[in-house]
Amino acid sequence: MRYLTRRNLWDDVFDSFFFGADSRTDIYEDEKGITFEIEVPGFKKEDINVELRDHILTVNAVKKEESEQKNDAYHYYVKGRKNVEIRRSYRLKNDVTEEDIKVKLEDGVLKINVLKNNREIPAPKQILIE
């Protein structure tokens, strides 16, 4: 089922690829644009980097203090949390610029709004054969 939706997504709007832990994500669209909600529990604002380059939106989250802080003084009974690095990329439509993107971090959820714009897409330019 996942593949199906991914597939449609490719046809439609963007590609996506993933690295590291697969944190739970919602991607949905309404009349205002497309929203990505990526779960990043325990990550601080400083740990997260969102960038747009060559139409590819990349989210990169690395917990900086985690490994140093949870040191030998702790004895673990259960270690179920493991997301120390989250990296995901999505291909956006060519006319999206960084001005169309709003990012918010709230309660461990990274919310990225990609607003629809009404920019004119330049008509393809005909190249003459010499």
Binding site: Y28, D30, V78, G80, N83, V109
Partner: protein
């Protein structure tokens, strides 16, 4: 629903039941001073969480229901789930609500339970 035996490890201090491991990832650990339970609950607000001490058991209730929002949207991917679960941990004797601190920050519910005096490590003097 899955029943896990992970908590056999904890016979010494904790009993747990009805753990749905995949719903909310959890760390449980201790140091000399306290026990700690960290549960990932991304997107959950304070009002949706209820932690209480009931007859020697720590009961954690999370009820974050988000259904109404979903209908207006066209989904490309729906990986997030509504977090609704109850967890119960048996605590060592001698712990009352004064020992328990609960914090919700960045989508992580962090509970620390300071150890009662009799559980603290004692240094024995060499005569």
């Amino acid at each position: 629903m899955r029943f896990e035996s992970t908590f056999d490890l904890l016979n010494k201090f904790f009993d747990g039941c009805c753990i749905e491991k995949d719903v909310a990832k959890t760390d449980i650990y201790e140091d000399d001073q306290a026990f700690y339970i960290d549960i990932e609950v991304p997107g959950v607000k304070k009002e949706a969480v209820n932690v209480k001490l009931d007859n020697g058991h720590l009961v954690i209730d999370v009820k974050a229901d988000n259904e109404e929002a979903e209908n207006e949207y066209r989904y490309y991917e729906k990986g997030r789930v509504n977090l609704i679960f109850t967890r119960k941990y048996k605590l060592p004797n001698g712990i009352d609500e004064g020992n328990i601190k609960v914090k919700l920050e960045d989508g992580v519910l962090a509970i620390s339970i300071s150890k009662p005096e009799k559980m603290l490590p004692k240094t024995i003097l060499i005569e």
